[in-house]
Amino acid sequence: MQISLSHFLAVGALLFTFGLLTVATRRNAVGVLMGIELILNGANVNFAAFNHYVVGGVSGQVFALFVIVLAAAEAAVGLAIVLAIFQTFKTIDVRHADLLRE
């Protein structure tokens, strides 16, 4: 079977779903960040696939590059926040970071 647009979209959909699953079920803050990376990668696969099979040119790839830049920025700030949480609470369990709830 010739590989086509649907194959790439299926991979992107599975990446997104597993990412969402990770974000929803992990208690570890670093694990949640990994799930976000998976979600962004699923979106990026879709961008590149639509660019190749539907649109043409490089617009989709440029958009995917912007997504990569934002993902890198998000990872840096997110991990800095995780480290700050760890210094404060001595754990990175996201359920224990509830200082604002009281």
Binding site: I3, L21, N51, L65, V77
Partner: protein, 211 residues
């Protein structure tokens, strides 16, 4: 004994993945350009297809590992597999610059950062730290609700697919697009990166207590 066997399997899998990535890259980068006329007709579509299925399977397997592995360190290894697989998929989509950027930024940057955070914050031997809270049932229900819908949408929707041209190298086109059409977002992205750099340092540094 068991541990060394697992380690050996891991190394073999990593080596196979790397070799597959390099093969895919060379096949798709050099193959069409070198014998563009002959290979399109004669090239076994089966080889490229098999390669695609292998890479896609490894990608999805890695993503599943991120979601389901008990230890956070194994999750990081799964993330490595998934990111590497996505980079190889970019090669299939003739997005060479994107593939290299994925390799540099994600594997070289984000993944190392994540591993760094895991080592800094986690008691690695403590499995309890990376347990899940919603539990297996909530996660399974979420997966069963999401995945079929998205997969059906991906396969059923009739997109206006055109004949994809063989793009040789996209780097020059991407550079031109960045500096002409997307100049403002490009500059904004650089500002975002600068702000991120400063912000990450400010957030993560140790607070100096002023007595």
């Amino acid at each position: 004994m068991n541990f060394t066997l697992g380690k050996l399997t891991g190394w073999i899998a990593a080596a196979a993945l790397t070799i597959g990535f390099l093969l895919a890259m060379s096949w798709l980068a050099i193959g069409p350009a070198q014998h563009a006329v002959a290979s399109r007709a004669a090239a076994p579509g089966g080889l490229v297809d098999g390669l695609f299925y292998a890479v896609a399977g490894l990608t999805v397997l890695g993503a599943a590992g991120v979601a389901l592995m008990r230890s956070i360190l194994y999750s990081a290894i799964g993330l490595l597999m998934a990111l590497l697989g996505v980079g190889s998929l970019y090669v299939f989509l003739s997005a060479d610059f994107l593939a290299v950027t994925q390799l540099l930024v994600y594997i070289g940057g984000v993944l190392v950062l994540i591993l760094f955070a895991v080592m800094l914050t986690n008691r690695i031997t403590d499995v309890e730290v990376s347990n899940r809270s919603v539990g297996l049932w909530g996660g399974a229900m979420l997966f069963v609700a999401m995945a079929p819908v998205l997969l059906a949408m991906a396969t059923v929707t009739p997109f206006a697919v055109r004949e994809p041209e063989v793009v040789l190298a996209t780097t020059a086109a991407i550079g031109n697009a960045f500096l002409t059409k997307w100049l403002l977002p490009f500059e904004v992205a650089s500002m975002v990166l600068l702000a991120t750099l400063v912000g990450a340092v400010v957030i993560a540094r140790k607070e100096l207590k002023a007595d």
